[in-house]
Structures are given as structure tokens and as C-alpha cells.
Amino acid sequence: MTRLYLQYRPRVILVNTLVTGLLLAVIGKLFYVQILEHDVYHNRAQRQSTNVEVLPAIRGNIEDRNGELLTSNIIHYSFAADPQVIEHPDTLVTLFARTFHRPAAYYRKQLAADRSFVWLERNVSRSRCGEILAHQPQGLIVRREVRRRYPYGHIIAPLVGFTDVDGKGISGIELEYDTFLRGKKGWQVLRRDAKGRVLFSSGDNGQMPIHGARLRLTIDIDYQSIFQEELARAYERLAPRTIHGILIDPRTGEILALAQHPSFDPNRPWASPAADQRLRAITDMYEPGSTLKVVPATAALDAQICSPVDEFDCENGEFAYHSLLIKDTFPSDTLTFSEIIAHSSNIGIVKIAENLGPDLIYKFCYRFGLGARAGIGLPGESPGLLRKPVDWSAVSTGGIAMGHEVGVTTLQLGLIYSSVANGGQLMRPLLVADIQSPEGKELVTNRPEVIRRVASPATMEQLRRILYYVVEEGTGSEARLPGYAIAGKTGTAQKFLDGSYSDKEFVATFAAMFPADEPKLVCLVAVDSPKYGSHFGSGAAAPIVRNTIKRILNQDDDFYIPPQPSQMSAQEKLHTPYTLATAGLLPADTTPGVVPDFRGSSLRKALRLARRAGVRLQMEGFGRVVRQSIKPGTLVDFNEVCLITLAPESE
């Protein structure tokens, strides 16, 4: 230290102190901001510098039993922009106006908004996006959105249901199995700069999405399509309020088809009334009429109170049953037990029921599952209606035997006939075969389940023989299919409207099983209030069942009996017409009256084959034939319509 410095020293120390004080103030503020308030500022920094991007889970698809997709997820694009970031608005406006055919002024107005996010276009399919996706201009925000599509549209809509715009199940399977189908959203944190441009995925945190599970139904979409089409055709003919039906594999309780008309378009659900969206086969309960006569018949046979050959006095068609006057459509003198079922004699079945007594009738109603939910596992399943015998009136025993005073759903009726078909076991209805996680892990596997034994196999075999007789000679003759044994039962119930039974409105039902000796298929159709033509189960419902079974026969290997020319008798060979084909002048696969194998051929070739074979074609799609509705080799009537599906070769 110099002597010179000493004289200035106090002032230097003063200045030094002030400087140190200011330094300490700054350090104090730094401590406050950086340490004490660190969390606050850190959060603010995170918030402004990151975007949490939701990684959507792809909704699981619903398939039919053969893996055919009943749903699909289509990626749609939405375009937005941050007007503050867009560098060349004019380029963008021109590009959008050209692609989406909107006036450029619209986009210019959107981009003029004083916001950092404006929608330009929403929910555009990829094909409409054109070149925008290829070179996305700076500042354009592209959002991928997955939309649920239902390729089969109205065919299976009430069963599969639909989702809302957010991909949440609203009805049907989509609602009931939403937790499985929707999966779990993931998310990732993206770093961004002040202009909103994404810099990179921060990587350290985030969650990959768990995609939805794959749900396989027991439904066979081919059967479903046929059934739906036949119902729609019958709807044209009969003009009923509604018409619906069910196809069940009686051996397992698997539901193969659940069709109804009118249906709705699940891709545009808002366009249809809510009534058409409910699955009538499980939600709608009605008095079934004569189709329920199998219940007292089973009771009588199983309890061995009657045998099929017992005779009953059928009073020539009019019988005073307590306060009721019961009439038969076909008045008879005496009828055997079998004939009572075959001709659906009300007087006969009332007399049988009176022999059984109310307790036995109730017991079998209960055993067949009336008044209880079958447990199909869908929202809105109705339990039907079955009162206890103590609540019955004097005429209830006979009334229930005729199929009145009880409410059933089509599903319940189908299960009753399934148990007749499978030898007396009431099966739990199966709709979902299995559910698999995206990795292929089985989450749910449903196996056939017997609810209870209703009656002995021998009883049911007797009953099936009677029901075969119904179709061959009785009221069900409309369902006859030459060469095939079908068993069935008609039903025509007066609707109970405004306190009395209507003589104008009926529910016509027909239940069938096929083949009659060892049924593989139970088919049930209910027509609500047919307006034109027959209102009877025989005239209104039975033909639908016949047509459906016929088409399924032609389609499915399980039922298919191929024509075998080598085994033709000489007689038949003589009657085979001499044509270009039989003379070996045409390819063997174009025998007239035999459906050729269209698969793999072009449309032109398919049309040529069809013309030679005498088959009319109805086609959808383009490319090469991938499916045909009638199996190759099937013998068909002249000008039968065969539906072919074409698809581009690459797929």
C-alpha cells in the first residue's frame, strides 16, 4: 500500500462497500428466483416450452367368426395453422383452395385471425388431401384423427353399434366392450421453441399407447348378410312394422346372425330414428303365440303324460275354455298329439296343458329360460315376462300354452328351439368368441356353456320329429326345401293393444332347425304386424326362413352336398341336356345351371362364365373376383343371382 493511497482509502472503502452491497442484493434476488421460486419458474418454463402430444390408441376391431373385419379405422386428417408462424400465407391459401375447392378468400380470412390456432379443414380423408401431405408448408399443423368405419353398414349395425366422434362406444358391442376396444391413450412430451415449432421429442418421459383389443364375434357375416337381405326382401313384400330374426348354432349356443329391418347406417347414425338402432331380438318382448307350443309339448312328453300318438277331441274348432272361446284355424274332430302341434291346434294344446296343470307348465317355462335374461352380455337385454302360477287366472294355463300371457324375446325363443335342437340343453347365448390383445394374448375366451338341462334327449328327438312333420305336412309347409329335412314351428300371435287382443295386428313367427335329425342351425324370424299378404307365421315368416336356409346351404361347406355326376344314375345322365358344355366344347366349369368358380377371374371373364352358366351376376367393387355369394358347383335355378365381390389385385 502506497502512502498516496492512504489518503483516498476511506472513500475507496465506501465505494467498495456500496458495490458489495449491490452485489449481495443481486445474489439475494438470484437465490430467491433460482432456489426458492425454482419450482414455479421451472413449471412455467416447462409449460411454455413443451407440448404434450396425445398418442391415440387405435380402437380394436370387431371381427366375425372367420376374421372378416366388421369395423375399420380410417385415418382422417385435419389441418390447422398458426397464422403468426405461416411464412408464405399466399402459397398456403393457393394450395388449399386448389385442393379443397374452396374460395381462397375463405382461407385468407381464417389466416387473418388474431389467434395462434385456426382450423383450415377438418376430417379429410387421405385421398382428398392431395399434395398437402407430401410437402407440408411451414406453420401448417396436421392432425391425424382415426375415424371408425363400418364396412358392412346397416347389415350388422344394431349389433355392432357405433361410436361417437371421439371414438367412444355408444351402442351395441361398441358400448358393452368399450373398455376392451378403446385401449389406452399414450402421450409424449415434445419440446418446442417460442414460435411453436416442435424441436424434438423429449424422450425421457411419455407413454406408448396401448391399442385396443381385437374382438371376435360368433357372428358369421356371410350368414348375417344373407339373413339381412332376406329380411329386407320380406319387408318389401309384407310391409310390417319391423322384422327381425336370429340364427343360432344350437350345439354351442353361438349366435351366427342377428338381423333386423329397418336397420340403420352406423356411419351416419344420426340419420336414423333411435328405434331402429336398438337390437330388437334382445330388447323387444312380445307374446309369441304358437311357436311357444313346444314348451307344453316338451312338458307333456318329458313328464310322459302324453305320447305323440294320444288323441284329443278338438271340438270341431270351437271350444269354451272357462270364459274364453277358443277357435282353431283348421277345425278338426280328433287330432293326435303330433297333429295338434303340426296343425297348431289351440284347442288341442289347451287340453294338453290342462292335463299337465299350471305347475308343470310353469316349471317348463322356467326351465326353458322364460322370464330370465339369457345373459348375452349386451345392454338392454329384456328378461321377458313370466308370472308365477299364484298370479295366474283360470285361463292362464291354457293361455300360456298357446303362447299368450308371457313375454319373450326373439333371443329367448331362439334358445328354446336350440335346446329342442341339441337334445334338451339350454345354452348360454354366445356372441363374443374371444378377445385378443394387440400382442395376441387371449384376454377373454368364451366356451359353450350349458345353463341347464330342460328335458331328456329322447323327448327332444320325439319333438323334433313332430316339428319335422310340421314342415312336411303341417302349417310350416312354406318352409319346405325339397331334398332337405327341416323342422319348424309357426306362430301367429294377436298383439295385445290397448287392453285387448287385436284382430288386425299380429306377430308372425317361424322357428326352424336344420337338418332336422341333427340340427346345426336354428333360424327364427319374427314379423311384427305384416300389412300385406299373409299375417300368419306360415305365410309371412316361414318363406323367409326357407330362403335363408337355402342360401346358407348353397354357401357353406358344412351343409353343402356337392352334385356328383359320376354317381348319377343312367336315367339322370339321359336327362342331362346336350349342350356345348356337356359336349366338351366349353370349359368344364361352365355347365349350365351350375355356378362356375368366378374367383380370380376378371369381371369380363366372370360375365362370360355367368352367361354360359345361366347365372345372373350382381357385382360390387372392381378388380378381380375375390368372393362369390353362391359356392362354385352349386346347382341353381336359371337366372339365379350370384353376388360377386371384386377387389384390386394387389390387396
Binding site: L4, L22, I35
Partner: protein, 381 residues
């Protein structure tokens, strides 16, 4: 003895701190400027390259100045002041003549532009050091000691205010008055001057609406999103740092959130990337340099060297503290660079020149002590 003396020619701490700070400065400049550089020019090293050139130039000048005897400056002091005042006068004229808009703080010389106020500040330090040296005890005299210096300081300030660059002028005034205070002017002179000039300065300050807005925003009197944005981003940046920071290069604020991350607000990025510890170490380094300056002044061989050293380090420390105070919202927002760290050519070059002069003063000190030791040695023998 001789060998020890020659290795101790310059004050080692000053040398180490200077180059340490310059090194940290270049790293932090690159880290803070890269994103802005990409945004503006597409080249992430745009600012880095230019800053390195200036540092090299500044280092060369530092070396030269440390070798030139600072006593020569005493003779140039008047000319340096006149020259810098001339530059301050012609800067706005050139600025308007070339059709420039806004503040005319830059003087284009060939391909580069310089900020004459930085030159003026160093000139004023030299001038005042020489003035105080010349006046000696007469500085206490109002008419012959105090007022002439005040007039010089006032004129320089006025020219800088006219650029306009109010904060630089204010710091220049603070520097000048502090040097006069250290030089021994009477307290009542300073007090009277303050009483007269503070209302005047306040008036000048609030003439420009943007300054008023900044002050009012700082005091919480008004809500001005634009004025608040930079300082709030600065606090977010610091606060995001925490104890040890996000790590070098990991600032999120520099991704265009914080305006001027590589110039006036580079300290916020330091705080974010190196944390509280890093920010404190940086401040302590500057503070230590300041203390070394006082030590050099303490040991300076003459009054000129002493005031020169005090002026140089006080000026440096004022900039550091005001910058840090602005960044931490202790002071209202104003554009003051952080010496040796912030991007800015003239400031960097003149800071390095002044540190070169400081080193030269320190070497003179050492030489003297060595001479004295030699005298003692001779006396003993």
C-alpha cells in the same frame, strides 16, 4: 530474485480472471446465440465467429496496452476526450445522413460499425484520472477543481443522451461522479450537484415514453405485456436453472423465448444452464477482478495510475452489477451488456483494452516493489 520478479510482472489474478471470463464468455455466447443465429441467418455459429474475431482483436490490443507504459496516456488524455466527443457528435449526423432510423448509437467505419460511447467512456476514465492527478488537492475547489470536470462529464453525457442511449449516459455519469468522489471532491459539492441534476435527469428520462413505461412497469404501476415479457422470460430462465442448472446447452429459454439471449440477457442463460452456483461463481469472478483492481490501485506508483485502475474496474463492475440487477429485476429493464460475455464488438474490445491498461499499471507496481527490494538488498550489502 530477478527471475521471480520477471514472472510476476503482471498481476496474475487479473490475467487469469480476464482470460477465464473471456473463455466462459465465448462458450456462453455460443450456447445462448446459436438458436437466434439459426433463426436470423441459418448459421448457428454466426455470432460466435464474429465474437471470436473481436476477442482476438481485443486480446491483441490488451497485449499491446499491457506493454505500453500507461503514463503515455496522460499526454493523450485531452486528445482522446476531444476525439471521442467528436465521434459522438458525428455519429447521429452520419446516422441520419445514411437514412438510418431509431437510435444512432453506431458509427459505421468501413465494413464494421463501432459504438463511440464505449470509446468515450474509456477516454473519460483516462481524462478524469489525468485531471485528478493534475489537480491533486485542488479538486476540492469548486470553480477550479470540481466544476470543470462536471462540465466535461455533463457534455459527454449529453451527447450520449442525444443518441439516444440514456442508460449508458447514466452509467457514464455515475462513473464520472464516483471518480470525482474518489478523487476527493467535497461532499457538499456532490450533494448540490445531485440536488440540481436529479430532477433534470428525471425529466430527460420521462421525455421518452418507453422509458417511463419501463419504470412504471418495474414499479408495478402499469401492466405492459411487452415491457414485462422480456423480464418475465428472464426470471423464468433463471428460475428454471435451480441450484446447478439445466446443463450447458440445455436452456429452453434461448429457444427464442427470451429476447436478446446472447446480448443483454446472456446472464439469464448462464443462470439457466449453469444454475445458481454458476451464476454466483461468475459474479464472484467479476467481483474478484474488481478487488484485484483496488489492490492494483492501492499499489499503483502514482495518482494517475491509481485513479486509472479504480476507474477501469469500477466501470467494469458497474456494468456487471447493473446488468445482473436488470436480469434479476432488481433494476428496471434497460439495455446494458455484461462485460466480456455479451455479444458486442466495441464493448468487448474496449473492455479488453482497459484491462490491458490495468495489467500495465499492475506491472508498474510490481516493478517498483522489485526496485525497492533491490534497494533494500543493495543497502544490506
Amino acid at each position: 530474485m530477478r527471475s521471480v520478479a520477471t514472472t510476476q510482472r503482471y498481476d496474475t489474478w487479473t490475467l487469469l480472471l480476464t482470460f477465464g471470463l473471456v473463455g466462459v464468455g465465448i462458450v456462453m455466447l455460443y450456447s445462448s446465440s446459436a438458436d437466434t443465429a439459426v433463426e436470423l441467418t441459418g448459421d448457428h455459429m454466426f455470432f460466435l465467429k464474429r465474437q471470436v474475431v473481436r476477442v482476438l482483436l481485443g486480446a491483441a490490443l490488451l497485449f499491446i496496452c499491457s506493454r505500453l507504459d500507461y503514463h503515455h496516456l496522460k499526454g493523450f488524455a485531452n486528445w482522446l476526450l476531444v476525439g471521442s466527443l467528436f465521434l459522438l457528435v458525428i455519429t447521429p449526423i452520419v446516422h441520419h445522413a445514411t437514412g438510418g432510423e431509431g437510435a444512432g448509437r453506431w458509427l459505421p467505419i468501413g465494413p464494421i460499425s463501432v459504438q463511440p460511447s464505449d470509446f468515450a467512456r474509456l477516454s473519460l476514465i483516462i481524462y478524469l484520472a489525468a485531471y485528478l492527478d493534475r489537480k491533486g488537492a485542488h479538486i476540492t475547489h469548486l470553480g477550479r477543481g470540481f466544476l470543470p470536470a462536471v462540465v466535461v462529464i455533463g457534455c459527454t453525457m449529453l451527447l450520449i443522451i442525444l443518441e439516444p442511449d440514456f442508460s449508458t449516459a447514466a452509467l457514464l455519469g455515475l462513473l464520472g461522479l464516483t471518480m470525482l468522489f474518489l478523487g476527493g471532491v467535497r461532499g457538499k459539492h456532490l450533494a448540490s450537484l445531485s440536488a440540481i441534476s436529479l430532477p433534470l435527469l428525471t425529466l430527460i428520462m420521462i421525455i421518452k415514453p418507453y422509458r417511463l413505461v419501463r419504470i412504471q412497469t418495474f414499479l408495478g404501476l402499469i401492466d405492459s405485456p411487452k415491457a414485462e415479457y422480456q423480464i418475465s422470460q428472464s426470471l423464468i430462465s433463471l428460475g428454471n436453472g435451480g441450484w446447478l442448472g439445466q446443463g450447458l446447452g440445455n436452456s429452453v429459454e434461448k429457444k427464442l423465448f427470451l429476447p436478446a439471449p446472447h446480448t443483454d440477457f446472456v446472464f439469464a442463460i448462464v443462470g439457466e444452464e449453469l444454475g445458481f452456483v454458476g451464476a454466483i461463481l461468475l459474479l464472484i469472478a467479476f467481483f474478484w477482478l474488481f478487488q484485484r483492481g483496488i489492490v492494483i490501485a492501492r499499489n499503483a506508483p502514482d495518482r494517475f495510475g491509481m485513479f486509472l485502475a479504480l476507474g477501469i474496474v469500477f466501470n467494469l463492475m458497474t456494468y456487471v452489477l447493473v446488468n445482473a440487477a436488470v436480469v434479476t429485476e432488481v433494476f428496471p429493464n434497460t439495455g446494458i451488456p455484461l462485460p466480456l460475455i455479451s455479444y458486442g464488438g466495441t464493448h468487448m474490445v474496449f473492455t479488453l483494452i482497459s484491462l490491458g491498461i490495468l495489467l500495465n499499471i499492475s506491472s508498474a507496481t510490481r516493478r517498483r516493489r522489485w526496485d525497492r527490494n533491490l534497494v533494500h538488498a543493495k543497502a544490506r550489502s
